[in-house]
């Protein structure tokens, strides 16, 4: 009897377990589940053509070349205006300053002195005005106009109105606008209403906002330049009936950022002794060696040095 007390329940247990495990084995045989041949070994498209280096890697513009200033005009001085809340940093302009120094000339920073304007401006051969946010007074405008009429050279680098986010915990956005339109209007040009962009990979420098521009005439500013690249370019609006001439034009397919209008956008405009560039980044340390920017900067400096302001 004792044997039956153990054997019978054991038999029941074994039968139940065998039936269950047997059923599982049968099911496992019927359905191999997730085991099987390697998943997708022979499937096309797992190294897709659009992912290959040839399809995505792009040649970035080499940052080479040299700012080469060739003038035999004796020692000359250029003033960079800092008196109108100009958006510039001296360290970022050092490559240009160094090149000017190497060629035996001088760059000075300071605000325009208008009290005795003719004398004070006359000591400089060229004046570089970079993105001023405050406007020029009527006296200053008169002085600059007299200055250029008497042979002095002025280059104005302007940027289109754009939002600037302040750093810090409260990130407020303010609109920053070029402040010297009343000055440049005397030369028939002002900064256009919108920033430009170009989505075509062949017409930008690795970003839609970093557009290309190329010479539209053969003047001294364009010598040796095929393409310049501009990081925050606007365009120059030129008034009718003026002597202002376009020297660089944005690449084909360039559009305005807000309204997406295509067109022929003047980037660099010259009116006799005044040059207007609708961008102020091309001259800075990080951009100056991109594309042919260094050649254009050289040309621009030579343009300023070739000024002949009477003392």
């Amino acid at each position: 009897m004792t044997e039956g007390r153990i054997v019978k329940p054991l038999a029941v247990f074994i039968v139940v377990v065998v039936v269950l495990l047997g059923g599982i084995v049968l099911l496992a045989l019927a359905d191999p589940g997730s085991s099987g041949p390697p998943d997708g070994q022979s499937i096309d498209g797992q190294s897709p053509p659009q992912y290959q280096p040839g399809a995505v890697d792009m040649a970035s513009d080499p940052e080479d070349g040299k700012i080469q200033i060739d003038t035999d005009v004796g020692e000359k001085r250029i003033l960079i205006d800092t008196g109108h809340d100009n958006q510039l940093s001296k360290p970022s302009l050092e490559p240009m300053t160094e090149a000017v120094f190497d060629s035996g000339h001088t760059i000075e920073y300071g605000s325009l002195e208008v009290s005795d304007a003719e004398d004070s401006l006359g000591q400089y051969d060229g004046i570089l005005i970079i993105q001023p946010l405050t406007s020029y007074s009527p006296d200053e405008r008169d002085a600059l106009q007299e200055y250029t009429e008497s042979g002095g050279r002025v280059a104005v680098l302007a940027e289109p109105s754009q939002a600037r986010v302040s750093s810090g915990p409260e990130q407020t956005s303010t609109t920053v606008s070029f402040g010297a339109d009343t000055l440049t209007q005397r030369y028939g040009v002002r900064v256009g209403a919108e920033q430009l962009y170009n989505i075509d990979d062949d017409s930008n420098d690795n970003n839609f906002k970093s557009i290309y521009a190329s010479p539209s005439d053969g003047g001294e500013l364009t010598t040796g330049v095929e393409t310049i690249t501009l990081d925050t370019a606007g365009y120059a609006a030129i008034t009718a009936d003026t002597d202002a001439e376009t020297t660089f034009t944005a690449a084909a397919g360039t559009r305005t950022l807000d309204t997406r209008r295509t067109g022929t956008y003047p980037i660099v405009v010259r009116n006799d002794n005044m040059v207007f560039v609708a961008d102020s980044t091309f001259i800075t340390r990080s951009e100056v060696y991109d594309a042919d920017n260094e050649v254009f900067v050289s040309n621009l400096i030579e343009f300023l040095l070739n000024g002949d302001a009477s003392d």
Binding site: P9, V56, S167
Partner: protein, 318 residues
């Protein structure tokens, strides 16, 4: 008499124990048996409906990759409907999603049903689908990449470079040009993917795709970002119709849970740790009282705005 009763009780107890143990074993193996039985329980082929809801984060994408792998291994499943509501996430995991869906489309028809949004990384994932079904309120597109790189990091590159002794000039450096080049590479592979799979349907140019606009369902059907207006049942019908081995309505529908967790916050500060609460997830950014390192930049294929100011130390998404 008493001895017989005792014996009977002992026997009963033995049987109870034996059957209990057998049942315990049965319970242990029940899920295996259950999972082993082909879904639907008959011989009809099946259309699997798999959900992807939430950001294309590592965790979510790994979940759906597992689902799709099981679907491909399951001989009874002949078509897939990918029911998606995702506004994207990091580029790396969005590419994983694309590759997993692309692999599945090589084996069986995949129809995407855009429940809410399939934008940016979400659209990346469904680009290879054989058909894309949308509602008027579905939101698709936003082809493009952003990078979350605090400007101060770029501006302070010079300072950063003096903080360590470095092995080379590019080590631990971030530059604006470098970021732009990287973004351009990721953008090209993203736009290239959309053009590779949808160029026959798209009425917009590659450049317009690269603009990164989003489109509502009706616009998407017109410009080729999607194929038809409908609901998830229509998507299932279309998937069945595209499968050669399914005839008429002779098919079953299997709903898979979907590995995507319902994370609302996609953009999480790099280096943050997560704390799972009962109804929320809290991301903690540790104070920098010791030298900790985090990814300096992260590339996102995302349609959205940061949920919170990243300067905050604690970000909650409850």
């Amino acid at each position: 008499m008493l001895g017989t009763n005792k014996q009977f009780s002992a026997m009963t107890a033995s049987y109870v124990i034996a059957i209990t143990v057998a049942l315990v074993i049965a319970v242990i193996f029940a899920p295996v048996v259950w999972n082993g039985v082909p879904s639907g329980g008959d011989d009809d082929p099946s259309v699997a409906v798999v959900d992807f809801r939430g950001g294309t984060t590592d965790a979510n994408v790994n979940g759906i990759k597992q689902d799709l792998r099981e679907i491909r291994a399951n001989d009874s499943i002949d078509a897939v409907v990918l029911r998606i509501d995702s506004s994207g996430g990091p580029v790396d995991s969005s590419e994983e999603l694309y590759l997993a869906v692309n692999r599945t489309t090589e084996e069986m028809p995949v129809v995407a049903y855009v429940e809410g949004t399939a934008a940016s990384g979400g659209y990346y994932g469904i680009a290879p689908a054989d058909e894309i079904v949308v509602k008027p309120s579905s939101n698709v597109g936003s082809i493009g990449v952003i990078v979350q790189a605090p400007l101060r990091l770029i501006e302070q590159a010079g300072q950063q470079s003096e903080a360590f002794v470095r092995s080379g000039p590019d080590k631990a450096q971030i530059s604006k040009d470098g970021l732009r080049e990287d973004i351009e590479v990721l953008q090209r592979s993203f736009v290239g993917t959309v053009m590779q799979h949808r160029s026959d349907e798209l009425s917009v140019t590659r450049a317009e795709v690269a603009n990164g606009d989003t489109y509502l369902g009706t616009q998407a059907v017109q410009n080729g970002f999607a194929d038809r207006i409908g609901d998830s049942e229509l998507a299932i019908e279309r998937a069945a119709a595209l499968a050669d081995s399914i005839e008429g309505d002779q098919y079953d529908v299997v709903y898979l849970g979907g590995g995507a967790a319902a994370f609302n916050a996609i953009i999480v500060p790099a280096g943050a740790t997560t704390v799972q609460g009962e109804n929320n997830v809290t991301y903690l950014v540790h104070p920098e009282d010791e030298t900790t390192f985090r990814e300096p930049v992260k590339y996102y294929a995302v349609w959205g705005v940061p949920t919170e100011d990243n300067n905050a130390t604690v970000i909650r998404n409850d």
